[in-house]
Symmetry: C2
Subunit: 328 residues, 2 copies
């Protein structure tokens, strides 16, 4: 598909104002920004233009039910041809989740995203790779005087999730200024952060903590790692999906550049999550083991090896100049 330039804010706003049979779709495994951006657009259209869009998302963590009117979200597709379908926060046509066929069959496809890698796959497109979240992109598209309490709750939540609560380098002065205007609506921002971002279940908390308590250091603390076996997950009554936060917490250990967490998905098969702070390119590291990802966050899979054998292989592949020339 030929890459085409972004359309203008005016074009997008004209689309919003255009009352037709409308749906909104997100991406596979919807995360905070995805769910929030879909609901933000839903409320914006309904409250300002008086029409309800059908929202299609795969099942998502129940904590997001504190967002307004999540009951409208559909997980299964009704066989319709929509006049317009909005794709939000989705970097790739293949990654649209529930509602993908509706997007494909829509009379007009509108794509709004913030992933710089987005190949621009809509009929109307708005991709802002320099903006930290899909919700913040929507903020720039929405007319400020048309944002209300419900829209603000959604936009704020997405911005929190894709910025690690205003920490990541994708936060700009505009991000914080926009967040300021959103909390001025009196939204329960303290609870939104705690309940959708920080809160974990009892089992998840104990299991993650257990994994972290087993952490070990190598390379004078430049490298830290831990692992969890299937039988340990069973003991804590959790699945590997509930161990997401472990590798990020390992990365927060003072002096650490590279953090690795291994979790066993079936006997002898280990998923490996890599994170780094400043030095090691963990995308290259993961690719060298048949995986992939980003410079600071990546992953791969190992078969029929033990954790300490895997770690030895990984450590041996860390460039000596990275470790020796570290600037932590």
């Amino acid at each position: 598909m030929e890459k085409r330039p972004n359309d203008t804010i005016e074009m997008l706003r004209a689309e919003f104002a255009n009352v037709r049979k409308t749906a909104i779709v997100g991406h596979l495994h919807p995360d905070g920004d995805c769910i929030s951006s879909c609901l933000a657009l839903y409320h914006y259209l309904k409250d300002n233009y008086g029409y309800e869009a059908d929202v299609y998302l795969e099942p998502y963590p129940s904590v997001f039910d504190m967002l307004p009117d999540t009951a409208v979200i559909r997980h299964t597709v009704k066989p319709e041809v929509y006049d317009v379908v909005y794709s939000l926060d989705c970097a790739d046509l293949d990654r649209i989740g529930a509602g993908k066929e509706l997007f494909d069959s829509a009379k007009k496809r509108v794509m709004i995203d913030h992933h710089i890698s987005n190949p621009v796959f809509g009929d109307v497109n708005y991709v802002k790779g320099e903006i930290g979240s899909a919700c913040e992109v929507l903020y720039t598209l929405f007319e400020e005087d048309k944002i209300n309490y419900n829209v603000a709750m959604c936009l704020y939540t997405g911005m929190v999730h894709d910025t690690g609560v205003f920490q990541y380098s994708n936060v700009t002065p505009d991000t914080l200024t926009r967040a300021a205007k959103l909390i001025a609506f009196g939204i329960p921002f303290t609870d939104l952060i705690q309940k959708t971002f920080y809160e974990k279940s009892f089992n998840e908390t104990r299991a993650s903590a257990y994994a972290i308590s087993k952490a070990a250091q190598l390379l004078d603390g430049f490298f830290v790692w831990s692992y969890m076996e299937t039988k340990e997950m069973e003991r804590f009554h959790i699945t590997s999906a509930e161990l997401d936060s472990v590798v990020s917490e390992l990365r927060n250990i003072r002096g650490v550049d590279t953090a690795v967490f291994l979790y066993e998905i079936e006997s002898g098969v280990w998923k490996c999550s890599f994170r780094s702070n400043h030095v090691v390119n963990v995308s290259e590291l993961a690719v060298s083991f048949g995986g992939g990802g980003h410079v600071r966050a990546s992953g791969c899979t190992f078969y029929h090896k033990k954790p300490d054998e895997i770690i030895t292989e990984i450590v041996n592949r860390i460039p000596k100049e990275d470790y020796a020339g570290r600037a932590l």
Copy 2:
């Protein structure tokens, strides 16, 4: 001491402009907001009015050495009579740390704070109980065009620390707007948050995680607790001061209202930290055991009891209507 009204911004600004022998003091056990506010004022005076104030603070965590020019901070007092001494972030005259006698003997004492309980103990006073941090109070006092990179780094860091990275209910739209202007100076805000707020040492991380992995629930998950014995701390090579984050993390467990962490400071003597989210008044709870604190964060000490005996006593003292009428 008679409580006197706050002085005006103009009076405070006149003090800043007044070049005299000047010192700055904070409070006992200086935290992020205390250290940052003292350094922010130091840089503001030096860069705009060309005079160096002597900064007196007790020893503080070394992570704050990433703030500009911490080398000027003195831990021991030189016997001087200062023309003016600024007390920053200190809620009570008795809680001034290093430099207290200098404050007492100063020709003029200027007090700037954000604690609503502050009895107003200076000759010139500026207490804003509705503002979330001493650094944000300074922001309102400083002239915006006199804030520079170094001042911005300090103000931002203090605001981050006293708001739990923009999460607590003391965050206002103004807080975020001010933070936006501060990061516009190009300060390393991502690192400031990670290194001064989230980062823990390897031992601290493993020990805290171990304590959390032992957590237990009571009252259908309304109450969660854990504990750590002296011998366990020794095994992890840490002191109890390095277990600060445990009780906050317990409070983040889904469904929890009240979290309790017990740590043994000497054989059979247990310090107890309480936190609650919405329901139980843990100040009353701590007071009923001879301790004290705030509605959502408090503490007390138990002697010659075992952890499970202590927890049974605490749970029995939680009002039944609190637990039964919970709205989590």
